[in-house]
Symmetry: C2
Amino acid sequence: MDNKDSARINQLKNVLKRLGLEDDRSIRWDLMNLALTHPSYSPVNNYQQLEFLGDAVIRLVSAEFLLEEYPQTNVGQFTAIRSILVSDKTLAYWAEAFGLEQFLLMSGQSAKDVIGRTSRLAEMFEAILGALYLSTNDMSLIRPWLDSLLKDKSTEILLDPALENYKDALQEWSQLNYKCLPEYKVEEISSQQGDPERFIAQVWLNGEILGHGKGQSKKGSQQAAAKDAFLKINNNGSSP
Amino acid sequence: MDNKDSARINQLKNVLKRLGLEDDRSIRWDLMNLALTHPSYSPVNNYQQLEFLGDAVIRLVSAEFLLEEYPQTNVGQFTAIRSILVSDKTLAYWAEAFGLEQFLLMSGQSAKDVIGRTSRLAEMFEAILGALYLSTNDMSLIRPWLDSLLKDKSTEILLDPALENYKDALQEWSQLNYKCLPEYKVEEISSQQGDPERFIAQVWLNGEILGHGKGQSKKGSQQAAAKDAFLKINNNGSSP
């Protein structure tokens, strides 16, 4: 560990306590310290490698959880739900809920970077997952506390998918399956403000129309088209 | 297992033998059977869920391997190497090397789909990784045989990165880090065939130029621009 002072040890203990892991002897403290060190604090010994690993950990643990919890759900829907579970927005929300930011070593300049805060929190969260995974080479230090978060979030998504962003989910799905992005074509068919059918949108992928939507704003019509595409994908398994 | 006849059991044993796992008692045969069943054979009991999981398994095991094997390598380069390791092309190559296709249950129509063959082989390979991961909830059935493949492929990439496709690697990297795709602008500056500087290309991401390249073909100039972008990314860690 770079910083061996007892204040840092106490910080790391505090983080582990918040995750319900304070008594675990298998935890690699050197890795936990790295996971909570921003590149602005140390250009060499920081969370980047663990974040790279943790990005795959959260994908795998989410997939495991979804398969166990919703065995009847089709793969198209899994892909959509996982894209939300592993998004920066969700990971940053969890990091925030545990109050982890105060334990991140970083330069004062970086701390002032408000725009980069969501990414920073998400990266730190992924790095912690990476450190915990490498401590035991399995998910035994992760699932005991992460499962309830995955459960709450996936229940929320399934109960009201409209809470979430279909465009983001469709983009993730198309990148994963087709290595390209959906495109939207929007037409204004009425100039009356507030008309729920003022705009119509089509979403295209690889020269094919995936879905149609209407809305009183451009963005609303795109979201509706993305939702339409989503329902079709979910009905057909993993292909549109 | 859907298909309990002894011929199928022998097929699965044969697959496990090829992976050096024939004596392992922890293997879940029901999952191995699913992993080797194409959706055209059974619309419900097929490899799709395991493939969804296995996609995350190969990402995680590749990250683990790279961190252990090349601890001094920067994260930008890791991302590039991993994108090649987890690509359909690589996974299909490995499935082919083990001669696995003959054990995949599928409709005769699907077997004739030559264009979809690479995806099919890659999906089957991911599904097998998913089945082996779920058998023990760790990588203990995977790393003993996969590590040498990861080692050979990563050595090949590091020795001669030009063997590989920089455009694909850059695309994977930009999707992962920026959720959008690089764009190429190509200009013909000489009409002389064979002129190594006939085309010049720029590669853009989010309104910024990542790299420049020249070539005697459009594609060559794009690859050169992608390579230029790559070297810059590798020198700067994970940001361009």
